[in-house]
């Protein structure tokens, strides 16, 4: 089966979810672009958008339409070429409207899993539940005569567990998009013990057509992205306790840790903001999934448990704006921090001065925006980190240790065989997490 034939019948499971809808969008566009090639006239391309609720599917169709409009506006010049024979389409708006129709026309929203029984390729982006994934994969595999391939978006479950559990015989690959898939350039590709060569070849071709950067990871729970992120969270919680020992309240300590991990480490978000972005529940669940597979290490956070018990979840609204979580947001700005001991949000304005006094003077860090994408970023970062190394305040010490720990986690991922090399770890953090520099660096040496 050729690349094109494979993509003539596809299903996305969990299509209305945050990851699923992005995968649906990218795949729909790729399939529609194939269908519009002169040689493919008359061939049908079908993409089942499978999810559990009709309401959510209606929402995802609205999302698709809005996103395809943006994509079409961006590539209208290319579209004018594609539709050059359609003499009835003259203005840009007519061409864009036709393209939106052609992409949407590939997609079939449905709540019936049976639709996947005809597909050559199944993208899976459902809940991070190993047993559930195995059950659904088995069911499709047994009822689908086409020997379909399974592309799972799991960020934490070993692919071999799914492969063997569902009896797929290597017709599976970990194809882990980053959130949001439509924007993030990174895809982690993970093989099970028996992933077939042709599945891998297709995965690379597909990633290339989607203009994604592929980083291979070994089949070890959490892979590279969450391997770093989850351990980064656990360290942040440690820092919170260190700061509490120095006399901060827990809300102050969370606020301080978040600020240091963002400003002093020149990251796009602080660690607790990132937890809110992903969702406290999702982070906790990823840890739960990873933990059984990580030897000599406890991937589990009591702080996250406590937050969840009190209903603190974070995550995003369907329009992409941030829900309140560990912190409270107004127009994207952090205005308060949750105190799980008192079960209330403490306004930032009440603690900012005290926290800054306790942390002491910090060397002026460059803004993340000024560094990321800057070709001369090394020239900005080196002098900054040199200053940070010699600063004699509590805040600077915390920041130094944080940076060192991040490097240690990165090195651990290579040493434990999750990542093939240092560069891959850095690529994942640079592209998947938009860090301005890779964690494995020499700034703190």
């Amino acid at each position: 089966m050729t690349y094109e034939e494979r993509l003539q019948h596809v299903s996305v499971l969990g299509a209305a979810g945050k990851m699923g809808s992005g995968i649906l969008l990218l795949t729909a566009v790729e399939m529609a672009d194939l269908s519009l090639k002169p040689g493919n006239k008359g061939k049908t391309f079908v993409l089942n958008a499978i999810d559990m609720s009709d309401e959510a599917l209606a929402g995802v169709m609205r999302y698709l339409r809005a996103q395809i409009l943006k994509i079409a506006e961006k590539k209208v010049n290319a579209l004018r070429q594609i539709y050059t024979d359609r003499r009835d389409l003259v203005d840009n708006d007519e061409i864009i409207a036709q393209y939106i129709f052609d992409v949407m026309n590939v997609v079939r929203p449905t709540t019936r899993l049976e639709a996947a029984y005809d597909s050559n390729l199944i993208f899976e982006a459902i809940r991070e539940d190993s047993a559930l994934k195995v059950k659904i994969f088995s069911q499709i595999n047994q009822n689908n005569p086409k020997q379909p391939w399974f592309f799972t978006n799991t960020s934490s479950i070993p692919i071999t567990v799914l492969d063997e559990g569902a009896g797929l015989g290597g017709r599976i690959i970990g194809f882990h998009f980053y959130n949001p898939p439509a924007i993030q350039k990174l895809v982690e590709v993970i093989h099970s013990k028996q992933t077939l060569k042709e599945v891998d070849e297709f995965a690379l071709a597909y990633a290339k057509n989607l203009r994604k950067i592929v980083v291979p990871a070994h089949d070890i729970a959490g892979f590279i992205g969450n391997g770093h992120f989850m351990r980064d969270i656990l360290y942040a919680v440690e820092v919170v306790h260190i700061l509490m020992d120095k006399g901060m309240s827990i809300a102050e300590a969370i606020y301080a840790t978040n600020r240091i991990s963002q400003e002093s480490l020149v990251r796009p978000m602080g660690i607790f903001q990132l937890i809110d972005y992903v969702g406290v529940d999702v982070c906790s669940f990823i840890m739960f999934v990873m933990n059984p597979y990580t030897k000599d290490e406890e991937i589990h956070s009591k702080l996250l448990d406590k937050l969840l018990e009190q209903g603190i979840k974070g995550g995003q609204y369907s329009d992409g704006s941030q829900k309140d979580g560990v912190m409270k947001y107004e127009k994207g700005r952090i205005v308060a921090v949750y105190d799980p001991l008192k079960s209330e949000y403490v306004p930032v304005s009440q603690m900012q001065a005290a926290v800054e006094a306790k942390l002491g003077a910090m060397p002026a860090a460059p803004a993340w925006k000024a560094v990321v994408g800057n070709k001369a970023k090394d020239e900005i970062l080196k002098p900054y980190f040199t200053q940070l190394k010699s600063a004699d305040t509590l805040g600077a010490e915390i920041a130094r240790n944080y940076a060192k720990k991040s490097k240690e986690i990165g090195k651990h991922l290579v040493a434990s065989g999750v990542a093939y090399n240092d560069a891959d770890v850095n690529t994942v953090l640079l592209t998947g997490f938009f860090h301005a520099y890779g964690p494995i660096n020499e700034y703190m040496d």
Partner: protein, 403 residues
């Protein structure tokens, strides 16, 4: 002509502009400009006729029958004759010509001319659709997504090939710098708030054919603008009626109004041949040569059009426009200041209003009313010239004014 008024040219570049927030509509712009001029001429009762120039409100604003907005500007204009004219980006010039001809025909002593466009109702990619009818519709299907920019990118390509790319691009960059520097002196200009330090370096960034055009960047293009301009066209009798001394007005001493076949490609992609004809007609009519002119407002819808216009005016030989501009001759302190408030690239290009805006700017300059943007008007060169272009060198209006 007298009593010119420009609204702000609103759009990207202005601090107060936000594409997703509500903005004034065409009614607001027309009213502000119309009333601005009426106030200076003693009110609507002094007006005999009105003319409104607009290119594409039918699509940008879903509005036609525009002459009927005059009584909305001022009740005193109710039941007076008014017309709407259209000639793509040359519309404003046609509105002026319509008024001038009424005065010459002695059917009116005072004509109120308004030109406007409100374009930020859609994104640039759809704006390109709405502006494309300035060219021949039959060509649209196979044209660039950004149809007009595409046409002028082709012209730029032809010019590069014939006269050298590097020098020409440097000429574009200097043209851009002049436009922005002038706009910074005019509070109504769209680029008034521009703070870029090295303008020429910004303009020298290589074009990206995939994202936009092969030979031009966004900085080579005029602005997408909302704005209106108004001016009063009067006979001496009209000036008397309004109680305005003759010395406050500029005199129309010549004009050239020229049309070229819209279905034909330009005879020479490296020259604005129709503009050359219109300017030559206007100068002949006025009985002067270009060296008597102190300043000009010319139609730089693209930097390349500005360069070719310099040649069409006879300021530089064919192919020498870039050098002439690079040498600083067209800058505000140069030999021949052009587009002293920024032109279409710096001040803005509310398409149907641009021709009227040119006349308003010349009125201000020739009468010493241009404020911070004022340039020197030597006594031995008491003339100002405008060249307003519709389409790809198709509809041309050039007018010569005397101080």
């Amino acid at each position: 002509m007298v009593a010119g008024y420009n609204t702000i040219s609103m759009g990207s570049g202005r601090k107060e502009f936000h594409p997703k927030k509500d903005r004034p509509g065409l009614e607001d712009y027309i009213k502000e400009a119309g009333q601005g001029t009426l106030k200076m001429i003693g009110g609507a009762q002094n007006v005999d006729e009105c003319v409104i120039g607009n290119f594409m409100a039918s699509r940008f604003n879903r509005q036609a029958n525009l002459a009927a907005f005059f009584p909305f500007i001022d009740e005193g204009l109710r039941y007076k004759p008014a017309i709407r004219v259209e000639g793509a980006c040359g519309t404003g010039g046609l509105a002026l010509m319509s008024g001038i001809k009424s005065i010459l025909a002695e059917t009116a002593e005072v004509v109120l001319a308004v030109g406007f466009e409100v374009q930020n109702t859609v994104k640039a990619i759809y704006c390109a659709d709405f502006l494309a009818p300035a060219g021949w519709a039959a060509m649209r299907k196979d044209g660039h997504a950004y149809f007009f920019p595409g046409q002028f990118s082709e012209r730029a390509g032809a010019y590069f090939e014939k006269f050298g790319r590097e020098m020409t691009r440097k000429g574009f960059a200097r043209w851009y710098r002049n436009a922005i520097e002038n706009a910074r002196l005019c509070p109504t200009a769209q680029e008034y708030h521009n703070t870029t330090k090295d303008l020429e370096a910004a303009a020298m960034v290589e074009p990206n054919a995939k994202a936009f055009l092969e030979n031009l960047t966004a900085l080579d293009c005029s602005k997408v603008s909302d704005g209106a301009s108004a001016i009063a066209i009067m006979s001496e009798e009209g000036l008397k009626r309004c109680g305005i001394p003759v010395s406050d007005a500029i005199e129309v001493v010549g004009f050239g109004q020229v049309e070229e076949d819209i279905t034909k490609p330009p005879p020479d992609k490296t020259a604005l041949t129709t503009m050359k004809q219109a300017v030559s007609n206007a100068l002949d009519f006025a009985g002067i040569t270009i060296d008597k002119v102190a300043t000009a407002e010319i139609h730089d819808c693209f930097t390349v059009a500005g360069i070719m216009a310099v040649e069409a005016l006879g300021l530089a030989e064919h192919g020498k426009g870039p050098e002439y501009v690079i040498a600083g001759n067209t800058a505000r302190d140069g030999k021949f200041p052009i587009n002293t408030t920024g032109g279409l690239i710096g001040w803005g290009h509310p398409t149907g209003g641009t021709g009227v805006h040119m006349a308003v700017t010349l009125w201000e300059q020739l009468k010493g009313r241009a404020g911070a943007a004022q340039v020197n008007i030597p006594d031995d060169r008491p003339y100002g010239l405008m060249a307003n272009m519709g389409g790809d060198d198709k509809t041309l209006v050039s007018i010569v004014f005397k101080k």
